[in-house]
Assembly symmetry: D2
Homo-oligomer: 357 residues x 4
């Protein structure tokens, strides 16, 4: 844990970070408080459909400075829910952090047919390299994901940063159960949607949104907290070179070995000519979910963005599940999302390295 | 509570009623058991958007023989949720049954825009005749409607008859929270949908379904328990003569006075030429929600029905929210709903009279 | 052929009165004319997708009193256009009326995918009983169907009764080419659409409308002439008993033999349990297209009808192509179609007998 | 008019090669021909909805080397059809080319509601600077646009380059009337559609496609000739600097004065902050329709493009009329359109200057 560098004026600089909504109230007890209370810890709840890139995202979160993970909620998505639960526990075990509470979420979208991305992430969602000693689901919390989100947000008003890297079913039901949830959140980071009608699942639709279009619609409609979106096209344009990837995964650590193992299948897939065709601008390694997480843990990660009202097309033969950007302001929506345009890729590389050290 | 008349062979006749799924296991303790265990009590949960016809339905349920109301869950619909809560409590107060637990449900559809039927039911949803001594919302249960449904069904496996007379939002979220809920229910009775594309809200859509089409879709898709539907066209064809209505409401009881008072506005509306135009076959008093309730409390009420798979059109410029009957079996759905065709109107009249005595 | 009817402007003045529903029976100044020439000749253009029921309709038209067929335009539908052309010529040959001009229309719907009803009408659309001596397509007119409709209507302003018994592609393009066409027609009779969401092709859609929903939409939108619709549900309810059918087809005439031969396959199909299931009310022989034609040639055929604005649902997963009736007057359409409710079935039987004599 | 080019089968073989992108410059056996007749003349048919940018496009076509305009067909669009007809004639008059045949096309989309872009192009579609001496509509051809297209293509098989700069209604009906039309064309250039869901009329839809989505769908589906598309986003990215515009319009010629006059209103609009917001990449003068025309008259104009199958979304609350690019090859379409990516802007400037000299 960082001890010194947050002290003094630098620390204050950190405290006055962009998204701070509540100014620091009391300074008097400054000297005696622990480092933990000195600089504001980011309190994260991760909503995942673990998957290879979710695994990478979780590992970055676990190694990011001044970040506390209050819980991980699981959702159907890249792989069926049961796999997501197991995969999430496996990642935490490798990182020796099984103390983090993991919650079971929904196994089905609100009404769309279920679909998974098994061809990419493998049948088990984690590269088809089973762990005979994987932790058992008895480690899961009894409480359900949506209710846990509500409870955690209530217990940490204005502090919780929700990072959603799967279909948005859990978030959609949570806001239905507690319409005041968004107001209690600090912010929401989403990996999903598309900005230029370039789909990766349907012709115009990105996987997470297409996997539950109604949930995506509800979330973009009702989560009026500050919302940051890492869309598919952005992630394609922000790909890392394969050479970086080779270097990264050649680290001689247990964590690197784990990532290497689970990533093998999907990286081969991703490097294939067929898949690269789908990548719009720039070829390379697209860590996808990681972008949302990186933005959530480092306020300086996003270097360029735009604010625009967004929604999701629910009809449409080819466009169902497509995110729609309202540049023309036809929707008359007050709430605008922050659409990520460019990010600091050097920071990303450092995070990825730190994650496996 | 009924004491004697259910004893003897008649009682057995009752026990062998049509829908009994579990045969009576032990007869040895017959003599000593309480009346309650002697004949099967129907255990109802009512999901309402109280409204005038919901009020009538509740009052029938309260006076039906061998019927126990385990709870009333409230949903947005005829009037905003806050009114629904107040109206439900007002009805229970008039009937001196404030002991029945009332639960707060959702104030919004899953994603459709909210809409209410204020022009018909009045701004307060109950004929605009405020009660200064109406019971306060402090009487509401702390638990939310969807969770309460799940808990009650779990506590009474195979016994709960769910009667839904409003938009189906509560039921949709409940089955998302607990996919096994339908299996735990005895049956589901719905007032809603249409069978012949004759709408009462949009050109082809009935109010309860149009008010939350996604919820209706989810319920018809996932509630695989025996499901009975009183659709709009059926209710129109089963109208009662206004003369009956006059007689009914002229009873000199407190309850009749209450119904008379709250029904005045909507009955004038219903008797107007403009409204009668919308009624398809047969003019008269259409008690709507009451049909679903009457079928739930009396297994002999439905005299003709058909079983067919059903779903809800979610797209469609004119047909969004329309119930679709799959006579051609294109959907390949195993689960068929029972569509009510004709009912015993004499029984209905008796129930209505009994309700206000 | 009528000779007298062109006599004198006075006669024309009477005969040309718009929308005359009761034919002029007797007129003192017309003592010298034959009854046939006395009353106004009905001038028909038939737009067909010959099929078995189109064949029957054409044969009724050819034998109806005071009816002149100005042309037959052919459209894709029951069977591919080439078959429709051949089948139409075959019917005219059997009736010895190859003098009637036959026009080639569109082989494809405006934008829907092509579909045919081969399983019902047979691969050739006419019961799979080929005629080695069938007339050749060299007998077809050079002019295309849509343009021919426009020309004929222009040459006979206010007199042409258009009877459409197939998909409405020809009519849709014709009104695009000449928006004034509907004003020049006397009336339009359509077999197609549905009134109670009971489909015969999709769950909610009737074949002719589903085969080209955009064309149906355009026709119901732009043909503001008096429009009579024989919808699918009506035709089902107006079925004739199979016993009548047996008697009808046992007539010892060449024409009856022809009908018997071409109807064999579809009648066996129609009599099957599977097909009868789809028939809503009343089982039996449903001559479908014949209803529209019968209404066109005999103003007394329709015994009950209702006027209502109609349109076609173009979106909709299950309802695309479904006719929508605007009882609630949401569309604010001035033009109402006449929806056929009941017809004089005794008249129908007589027409069918006369057609094969 | 070219005389020699039909000489000898060899010459024809060379001249008729499909998709020749570099015009034949010199040929030894052609010493006696004039340069004009030496190289292949491009035979254009323009389908316009004259508007300001259509006017500019026509003027470029009239001054482009080796280009013959066989006809101009008019369509509803920027302004009602009657204005389009008048505006087209006005442009030809200014250029002293009233000899070019102008055809009246459709005044309405196939089934969408009519809409015009009056706020941009002015009420008369041409900047609201009426010409008291405008040529009369008696100069129009008697034949309709769709039929004229068919006739011209038939008379010039494999030679006609169709340039469509308005809604595609005329083209859609033409291919319905003659499905073989596309095979007879040399190529088709379209201004319309969008590639990145960035609309200019609806949130995701470009004006020409949204003005008749069904027509756009039909054209992209059935015109299997080489098809080049200048989409909205491309045109935005290819804007010219306002400084160029000022220089261009300051030329002291009658034609420049005409363009200046008719462009005044729309350029002020375009230069406004409000409008520039909609322009995606690069601010400036977007001559829109001109891009399609420039590509048609100069094979070297397009410097970068991509081939991809395309279609049009017809459903969709926000996406109706949006062009969909099938990078994932889900449509299994053989025919790919050429989507313009970058063009030679210096060439464009020269064309614009030449057009007004």
């Amino acid at each position: 844990m960082p001890v010194i560098r947050e002290r003094g004026p630098q620390a204050l600089a950190v405290l006055h970070e962009k998204d701070t909504q509540q100014p620091l109230r009391s300074h008097s007890s400054f000297i005696i408080c622990s480092v933990h209370s000195l600089t504001r810890m980011k309190k994260l709840v991760l909503d995942v459909d673990t998957g290879v890139d979710d695994a990478q995202a979780i590992m970055i979160a676990l190694t990011a400075p001044k970040v506390e993970i209050l819980g991980i909620t699981c959702c159907h998505g890249n792989t069926p829910l049961d796999n997501v639960l197991k995969n999430t526990l496996r990642v935490l075990k490798v990182c020796n952090r099984l103390d983090i509470p993991v919650y079971k979420g929904f196994s089905k979208p609100l009404l769309a047919s279920k679909q998974h991305a098994s061809d990419y992430h493998g049948k088990d969602g984690l590269g088809e390299v089973p762990d005979p000693d994987a932790p058992g689901v008895e480690l899961l919390q009894k409480e359900m994901a949506a209710q846990a989100m509500i409870k955690i947000a209530k217990a940490n008003p204005g502090e919780v940063i929700l990072v959603a890297t799967g279909p948005l079913t859990n978030l959609a039901v949570a806001v239905q159960l507690d319409p005041s949830l968004p107001k209690k959140l600090k912010s929401l980071y989403i990996m999903g949607g598309n900005t230029e009608s370039r789909g990766n699942t349907t012709m115009c639709g990105e996987f997470n949104f297409v996997a539950d279009p109604e949930a995506a619609y509800i979330v973009l409609d009702r989560y009026t907290c500050p919302t940051y979106i890492a869309a598919w096209e952005f992630s394609c344009r922000s790909s890392l070179p394969w050479s970086f990837c080779d270097e990264w995964l050649s680290l001689k650590t247990e964590k690197a070995a784990f990532i290497r193992k689970i990533s093998n299948l999907s990286m081969n897939k991703a490097r294939s000519a067929d898949y690269q065709k789908e990548i719009i601008a720039g070829k390379g390694f697209n860590p996808c979910d990681v972008f949302a997480l990186a933005a959530a843990v480092d306020d300086g990660f996003i270097t360029e963005s735009e604010k625009v009202a967004v929604t999701v097309e629910l009809d449409g033969k080819h466009t169902r599940g497509m995110m729609v950007l309202d540049y023309m302001e036809h929707l008359k929506k007050d709430h605008k999302a922050v659409i990520m345009k460019t990010v600091d890729l050097e920071k990303l590389k450092k995070m990825l390295f730190k994650a496996v050290k």
